[in-house]
Amino acid sequence: MKIFNFKSSKVALIAGALTMLSGYSLSANADGHGHGDWADYGRDANAWRYSPLNQINKDNVKDLKVAWIHQPGDIQMGLQATPIALDGVLYYVAANNNVFAVDGATGQALWHYKPELHPLTAETFWAAQQRGVSVGHGMVYLGSLDGRFIALDQKSGEVKWEIQLTDFENCQGCNFSFPPQLAGDIIYSGHTGGDQPLQGLIFGVNAKTGEKVWELNTINDDPKSWPGDSGKIGGGGSWQPGVYDAKTGTIYMGTSNAAPDFNNTARLGDNLYTASLIAIDAKTGKITGHHQEIPNDSWDYDSAYEIMTIEKGGKDHLVHLNKGGFVTVLDKATMKPTNVWQFAKNVNWVKGVNPKTGALIEPLRPNTEEDITFCPSLLGARSWQHAAYNPNSKLWYSNGWEFCNTVKAGPQDPETIAFAALLLGVAKFEIVPVPGSQGATSRLDARDPFTGKVKWSLDYGDNPGMASVLTTGGGLVFNGNTTGDYMAYDADTGEELWKFNTGSGLRSGPISYLAGGKQYIAVPSGWGGLAGAFAGGVFPKFVGNPGGAALIVFALD
């Protein structure tokens, strides 16, 4: 067997020269993906939203220009996707499940797929919004707006298989608004509907054949968790992507709040496994570990947001923001907290959270007799737009906002609830500023992920950053606001180095990738979504903010 020949040595020489010239490594990571790719929703299994690319850096980012624009045509609910980039091709999804493969260097569309959707998709609360696809096994995987997984041929966009997973017509239109994720040969996802009268399910499907392998119900079948029939409408949908640890074959997912959201009186138990981080065996779909952040959640404080893995002291930790305003740091192996720190500035629903155990200290719950103002609101200390982590600066970058909601709990009949309505369990609900404040505020923070210590913080005022943060090996942090400004900052100091207005608000997951050896920054622009609707009362810029949909890609000349 020939181990070394002229051809491979030439390749190695070229690779070495390129590495020296451009300063980035050509080596592939454990998933087999190169440093120029953005292979997973959070770029890799750590969910850092960190690209090691450094052609664009602190010195030259001021010269960043538009390279090309792709318009998907459908602007309903804006453009909320995180594109996937593999070998210089972008795969992304726009409103109403319009999937595109686009040449990453030119913006030329390679194929376009749109499924025929169930007519009731136009009548769901979730409507048209979709936030990504996944790519693997030569296929592009879509979670559809009517509750299917659809696998497309990566080269042609033709359907390879599809499977109906949710009981779409009978679950208030519960569906997939985030992309299903790969765990080896399993493609898996939970569904929307944490605020609706249903039980949250997570589906594991054979990624190659489309056969269902397992189904996990997040509602624990135990009367101590769910007295009487309360669990039948307990919520707990895992509506955001999980992450997969290939070393242990474990999926980590966050679950939503318990339902009815604010009226906890009919479900006086711990309500496992809602508002929890759960570890799942990818082969069997069995829960192998959990940490519940909010037992008997009474405020709509999901645990659904991104789960980052960060190594410290020879151990992997999970770093996770809950909507209630606290970041929990867990030992990944044991799922036990190693620290809990407060991210939100205004927290009044609890006196604190025990940093050693995660236990809530003296929680104040809503009742059916009086209006009570709780901070943060049901939209959380931040909406779903994801944080980023840069291994060079060792900082965690997250948008945040400060406002509250005034709530009087009330019964709502789950039998007669409208198809597009939420089972919030309220008689009164109003988003309000923090009492005594001048109005809602927002910011971009750079913090130590383990302690919460602030390195820098930028005031975004009444124009919150509603897109996911991107950080790069060029020492940069990118972030976008409600009125469409996209900014590059020095990752170490927060100094603004570049700014471009994209023409519509930003509510997506911008990425960085290589095509033809050149670094690009892809920014899906287009205001839309539900958080803006809820919070219009405290952020006037949200009200009537012009929508749109354009994938805008930047590069140096």
Binding site: A122, A418, A420, L424, A427, F429, E430, P546, G547
Partner: protein
């Protein structure tokens, strides 16, 4: 209501029978009359849809609902539980503009929008006819119409 439809159709038929116009004119005139009849029936259909309210004009129903504090309280609760998260508390603005103090808002438009939903640019509102019967949709109409006369509207 049925008698009104019959009356209208009969008038058209009589017109066709007794007009001395040539064939082409005949057709045009009768077509216009039939179209007018259908339009008339569709406008009336808004009120005709309300089983409990008979043939009363929508304005009368809304006025009656708005004069009952109990009905308006129930309507506001329905709004809070189903509409407030996109339209804001008391219609103060969410996805779209404020629904308060709007000059041109009228009963028919509000009722039809709740019934059929609406799409405009990036905005989408679902149809609520699957979930709310006509009386409930009229209650919501009465509540939304009451937002035209909030205290701040006269400032």
């Amino acid at each position: 209501m049925k008698s009104k439809i019959n009356e209208c159709t009969t008038k058209s038929t009589l017109l066709i029978n007794y007009t001395n116009f040539k064939m082409m004119n005949w057709l045009i005139v009768s077509f216009i009359f039939f179209t007018l009849c259908i339009t008339y029936q569709q406008v009336l259909a808004v009120t005709d849809d309300i089983p409990a309210e008979g043939d009363r004009p929508i304005a009368d129903v809304i006025t009656e609902f708005q004069s009952s504090p109990e009905t308006m309280e129930a309507s506001e609760l329905m709004f809070n539980q189903n509409c407030a998260y996109c339209h804001g508390n008391k219609g103060g603005g969410g996805k779209s503009r404020k629904m308060q103090c709007l000059r041109f808002l009228n009963n028919e438009y509000v009722y039809k929008t709740i019934t059929n939903g609406k799409r405009s640019g990036s905005l989408i509102m679902p149809s609520w006819s699957r979930s709310f019967d006509k009386t409930k949709r009229l209650m919501l109409t009465a509540y939304v119409m009451s937002l035209k006369t909030l205290p701040q509207c006269s400032k």
